[in-house]
Every structure is written in C-alpha cells, then in structure tokens.
Symmetry: C2
Subunit: 317 residues, 2 copies
C-alpha cells in the first residue's frame, strides 16, 4: 500500500460499487461452472487498464474464495470496502444465451448477501473524484453517494428491473448523478420516448447532464445538451460470451475519466471509445478471463483499429 500512497498525487481515485458474484453461463457453444462475475468485478478489471487508484465496494459470502480477493488486490483494486459476511452466501446468477447471443434467459438468481447490502465506502476513498455506481438497488446507490465528500463525476448504471420495481427510488437517485448509462430499451422505458434523441433529452431533464445509451453490438451514444457522439462496437468474428460487456464498458468509461481527471464532453468522447474498446475484449472469452490478463499493448493496438473504423476526412470548407 505504500506505493499506492506515494502515487496518490498522480492517480485519480475511483470508487466502484457493484455486485461481486458467482456466475454460471451457458452459450450455444459451451458452458461454465461457477465462475467469478458481478458488475463490480467487471468494472474493476476494466478500470485496472488505467492509472487509477480504485476501490470496490461490495459484499460477498463465506463461500467466496480468497484467491478471487487476491485477484482484485493484484490488479490494484482496493478491497477494504468488500464486506465478507461470515454466515452468508455470495450472490449467484446463471443464464443461457440464445443463438444470436443478443438475448438470454435467466436460469437462476440467488440474491443471498446482496439482499441486505449496506455499502461502506472506505474512509480513504470518500474523497474520490469519480464514482461508478453499478447496477444495484437505487437506494444502495444513493447510500454510496451520501458517503462521498467531494465527487466530481458520479456515473450510474441501472436496469429495467429497477424501473419496474423501484421507479421512484431510481428517479430520486438519478437527480443526483452526472451521467447515466443504460441500454436502448431501458432508455425508451424510462423516458417513454422511442427516438433515442428524444429519450436522452427527457432523461437529461430528470437530472443527469450526460446520458450514455448502450446498444450492445450496435455501439453506444453519448448525449450532453445538444452534443451527440457515437462509438461503434467493434465488429467481431465471434462473440464468445457477452456477459459483463456493459459493466466493462462502464469501467472503461469511468477508469479513463478518473485517470485523466478531465470531465469535459471532449474527453468523454475518448472515454466511450476506450469503453467500447474494452467491451470488445470482454466478449472474447468466458466471464472475466479475457480482462484478467489483458495487456495495455493489446488495448492500444485495438484503439488503432477503432480509429481506422471510424475516422474519415471530408473537406467541408
């Protein structure tokens, strides 16, 4: 921890809140046993690609292996805020993807220790500039916001489940965030607008100045006031397992912003390119496998592919 403390001056701090879990995944090609999963895990591993001092705030049970906790530490993710409930079991999700890999059925969800999760941000991280609130009950997300002393950028990810079951709480917490990341169908549900341009405007009026709409294999849109930017998803030869791609996207987005400490729209454009880039790796292997061992050189090489994929010059003078 000494070296982390020494580097504190040059590394932005990032607080990550999200599930740390077991997943069991079936795809048309293959299936896993219980493997490491959870939004907090994917966000943390993605943010690890940047020079950030990050901490994961979450909860696991006594069945959660020490080697997974070590994995976080080895990747520079502080686990002081990762509560281990002695007589509890870790959150478990299992799902099966359909042939097109774009839709899935949930086979089983065991909330377990997540049911009574009371997040505690470690004291040393309460002054973090960037907070990434992964998909959880809106009141848990709110509880984290209230512990922060000087946040400059609060990013919230959520899902249709909370729109169906805790809409008022969700609306309350989103008045307090700077950025919301949701998928296209959720943006339509939350706003009641089919057009994503109109949906983003309606959601901005609910609080967040910036709206990121994730469209999976069709890329992501970034909206802020009258500004609009688009990051494509990288067309891939094969999507092996889409689990965690959206969380990886969120981790890439906030990791880059925490590293650069520049929250301008111009820099957010770069951030969603990084986010799409990291998500494209995530889906190449089961679970967190690809992210765990991803090299900075691989990331940089693929950013050049993104550049070639999107950059053009037309003389408009």
């Amino acid at each position: 921890m000494e070296s982390a403390s020494k580097e504190k001056e040059i590394m932005g701090k990032l607080v990550i809140v999200g599930s740390v879990a077991f997943d069991a995944i079936e795809t048309p090609i293959d299936k896993t046993g219980k493997i490491l999963g959870g939004a907090g895990t994917y966000i943390g591993l993605a943010a690890h690609q940047f020079a950030v001092d990050s901490a994961v705030v979450s909860v696991v049970g006594n069945d959660f292996p020490q080697e997974y906790i070590d994995l976080f530490s080895e990747r520079g993710i502080n686990t002081d805020g990762l509560e281990v409930v002695k007589d509890g079991k870790t959150f478990f999700w299992s799902g099966r993807y359909h042939n097109d890999m774009n839709s899935r059925d949930t086979l089983e969800t065991q909330l377990n220790v997540l049911e009574n999760f009371d997040p505690q941000v470690p004291k040393a991280y309460r002054d973090a500039e960037v907070v990434m609130l992964g998909n959880l009950h809106p009141l848990v997300q709110l509880g984290v916001i209230e512990q922060m002393t000087a946040p400059k950028l609060i990013v919230l990810d959520t899902m249709n489940f909370w729109m169906d079951n805790a809409l008022n709480d969700l609306k309350r917490v989103i008045t307090k965030v700077d950025v919301i990341t949701i998928n296209d169908e959720e943006a339509r549900q939350l706003s009641g607008e089919h057009s994503l341009v109109k949906a983003s405007r309606a959601i901005q009026e609910m609080g967040p100045k910036t709206v990121v709409i994730k469209k999976g294999e069709h890329g992501a849109l970034l909206f802020q006031g009258d500004e609009m930017f688009f990051a494509p998803a990288l067309p891939l030869e094969e999507v092996f397992d889409p689990t965690g791609a959206g969380d990886t996207f969120a981790g890439g987005f906030t990791g880059y912003l925490a590293q650069t400490e520049d929250y301008s729209f111009k820099n957010m454009k770069r951030a969603i390119i990084y986010a799409s880039n990291l998500a494209s790796f995530c889906v190449e292997e089961f679970g967190t496998e690809r992210l765990q061992n991803l090299k900075k050189q691989e990331v940089k090489k693929r950013l050049k592919v993104f550049e070639k994929l999107t950059q053009f010059h037309i003389d408009l003078t």
Copy 2:
C-alpha cells in the same frame, strides 16, 4: 443537353437501373395515396446531389404522369433509358410500417410492366464508369452489365427475395460486380454466417471485392479485404417514413464515387458517409419529398454533424 455535353469532361457518368414506381405508404402517424417511388427514383434523386451525368434505366406504364418524367429531367437525370409501355401499368407497391418503424408488412405488390422488363442502356451511357444496379431480378442486372463497355465500378443492391427465389442467378451476377450492398439479415442469409465480419468475408469470396452491409438505424459497414469502416446512421428525433432509405444510401454512395472517379477504399469511406447522410434526409418526409428539394447547403451542414458525431482524437503514439 448542350451544357451537359460541355460538362461531360468533368462529370463522371452514372448508369442507374432500378424500379420507377408508385408507392402507397402507411405509417403509425399518417398515410399517402399513390406517390412516386421505386429504387431507381431514390437512387437518381440521391445521385443528383453530386456533379454526375446520370441516366435511369427502367420501365413504367401509360399511367405514369409526364410531370414525374419531367421531375427526373429537371434534376439532371437522363430518361432516354426509361421505357414507357403504352398498354402497361406502372409497378405498384404498398406497405404498412409497424410502430417501431423498423419493420413493415407489404400490403400489395403489382409487378405490372416490371414483369417483362428488358433494360436498354442508352448508347451515350454505355461507356459510364459507374453502374448502380438497384434491386431487381439478377438476370435483369446481368443484362445491364453486358451492355456496358468500360465499367470501372459496378455496384449491386439485392434482397432476400432473390436469395429465396433466384439464388443461382444471383450468385452468377455477383461474380461480376465490384461492390454489393445488402442489409445485415440478407448478408447472414447469403453467407450462412451470423458474424458480419465472417459474412462479409464469405461474400467477398463469391465475387465482390467490397461488401457494404446496411444496418438501417444502426448504420452501415464497409468491408474490403482486411479493411473495415463504419458509418453510423444519424440519430434522429423522428423517423417519418423509412421507405427508400436503402436506395438513397446506394445513390449517395455511387453518386459520390461517380463524381470523384476515385474508387479507392479511402474514398469509399467518404462515399458511405455521404450515403448515410443522404439517407438521414430521406426518412424525414414521405417518399421522395425530402430528396426532391434537398439543398446542397443542407447536405454540407449535416456532414458537419456526422463529423462531430464520429471524430475523436486519442494520442496513440
């Protein structure tokens, strides 16, 4: 025609083959009576945005109003190859869009004069460098190719209908084209591959060196060998009528290439940005209304929006 003849040296020639038709369109918002439609019409009106000497090769019946033929001429589209069948009726299509505007039901199709269409490219256009083969029977498309004396770029658009009903003929004609434009589902059907990267590679092996995959509101992908480029669709506040967007895209693509006479991959990237740009106007009003009166200044202004939507700078040194 004198001025056209004078300008011939600086304007590329473009031969457009495609239906010239009547459409009747219903959307959740409104409906039309019989209006001007057809792939050849949309392609021609889109190509009119560029400095090209274009000719439409098609067929209509005696019910086709002179004012529509005048409309082509006024927009610099030569109609010497537009056959008028004295005792025939013009091709008619009617359809109804669903609420999401992404899918539609065909209510009625009357092939009429299109059934026995024998395309004749006017002599003065047989030396055109660029040929845009709109969606028609593959053997009609082949018939046009055979009349061309020195084509440098043959672009073919097609649909699942021909894959279902004339696959061998389609496969024969696509061995002779440089570029194929199809939508994502059609690319999957033609190649048997779900991944669009793999699909484009399989289709390239069938003949066309360049594959353009149109994804509607999700943009378009351009593939050539190992090169790949993506043009987003412009996110719009409202899609009023999607009819003709794909044909407008094709007309923008070939119009730009015919004007610039540069068939490199680099220039094709610009061409699909122009194509997406023009398609974004097409859907703003019923049928061809928006395209008929579209000003160059509007096109240029929206190109700047495309630039802002997609261009970023990340230092990758």
